[in-house]
């Protein structure tokens, strides 16, 4: 019997790590991975609450979050490849001009 707040704290820590990574990292792929980390933290929250309130719709929603994450990472990675081809760098600090 683990208190639910433990699961929520774990989810919060994962989300906080994701936000930190999003803000301090300069490589665009690592920034993307921090977004995935945030989504995973939220998924854990969903499943934990679903277990507490005995509502399976929590687990179904996790399913949708995963599908959206998959679609978003596919398009995002394609954009990253396109950016790399035109700008030649993966550092977000150097991609700051509209003109090439």
């Amino acid at each position: 019997m683990v208190p639910l707040s433990y699961y929520l704290v774990l989810s919060g820590i994962l989300f906080a790590c994701g936000v930190t990574g999003f803000l301090i990292k300069r490589n665009i792929i690592t920034i993307f991975m921090s977004i995935e980390l945030m989504l995973n933290g939220v998924n854990l929250s969903f499943v934990a609450f679903a277990a507490q309130w005995h509502a399976l719709s929590g687990q179904v929603f996790v399913f949708f979050v995963m599908v959206v994450a998959a679609a978003e990472s596919a398009v995002g990675l394609a954009i990253i490849i396109a950016v790399y081809r035109t700008r030649g760098t993966l550092n977000v600090d150097q991609v700051d001009l509209l003109k090439l």
């Binding site: 019997m1 683990v2 208190p3 639910l4 707040s5 433990y6 699961y7 929520l8 704290v9 774990l10 820590i13 994962l14 906080a16 790590c17 930190t20 803000l23 301090i24 990292k25 300069r26 490589n27 792929i29 690592t30 993307f32 991975m33 921090s34 995935e36 980390l37 995973n40 998924n43 854990l44 499943v47 934990a48 679903a50 277990a51 507490q52 509502a55 399976l56 719709s57 929590g58 687990q59 179904v60 399913f63 949708f64 995963m66 599908v67 959206v68 994450a69 998959a70 679609a71 990472s73 596919a74 990675l77 394609a78 954009i79 490849i81 396109a82 081809r85 993966l90 550092n91 600090d93």
Partner: protein, 177 residues
């Protein structure tokens, strides 16, 4: 008791993986630690009884999305990242801020959340029941996400194709017009 031990072990693995993602300088190490995080999250889902969600997490998230990330890192030959001025400022103010914020939130959650305990396998989520829910109560979101995935596929194919092909296909139209 065993529940608490397994939860703590895999919770620690999750947190260690997340911190490793932040600390590592080469993106491939970050990607692999993210895979570890996802794997241990799948175990946490199993502890809560969500077996189908855990399996889908491993198959889709750790087995397909992260493979995509690893591909892109290998293709683009992303090297070790360098420190820039912006990130120094963010690190100096941000990391203590995030630490204080999370400690505060964790303390509030642990003391005052007003939620009870969950047992092992508290809400079993067999594929049959989840499938029923997906096709009956959540049919509209299901169909909408399938359209979303279709759009994502088309977008990714268009974005990742070589620019030269696009120009070649544009030229005959110009000549005819």
């Amino acid at each position: 008791m065993l529940h608490l031990i397994v939860f703590s072990v895999f919770g620690l693995v999750c947190v260690a993986g997340a911190i490793n993602l932040l600390v590592q300088r080469h993106p491939i190490n970050s990607a692999l630690s993210l895979v570890v995080v996802m794997g241990s999250l799948a175990v946490e889902y199993l502890l809560l009884g969500a077996e189908f969600v855990a399996a889908v997490q491993v198959i889709v998230y750790a087995g397909a999305i992260m493979v995509l990330f690893v591909f892109v890192i290998m293709l683009l030959n992303a090297g070790v990242e360098d420190r820039t001025k912006g990130s120094r400022v963010a690190m100096l103010f941000g990391i203590p801020g995030v630490l204080i914020g999370s400690v505060l939130v964790a303390w509030v959650l642990l003391q005052h959340s007003g939620t009870g305990s969950v047992a092992v396998g508290a809400l079993p989520g067999p594929p049959k029941v989840i499938g029923w829910l997906l096709f009956h109560d959540f049919l509209l979101p299901f169909e909408v996400t399938s359209v979303l995935v279709l759009i994502a596929i088309m977008g990714a194919v268009v974005l990742a194709s070589h620019p030269a092909e696009m120009q070649q296909s544009a030229q005959p139209d110009e000549r005819e017009g």
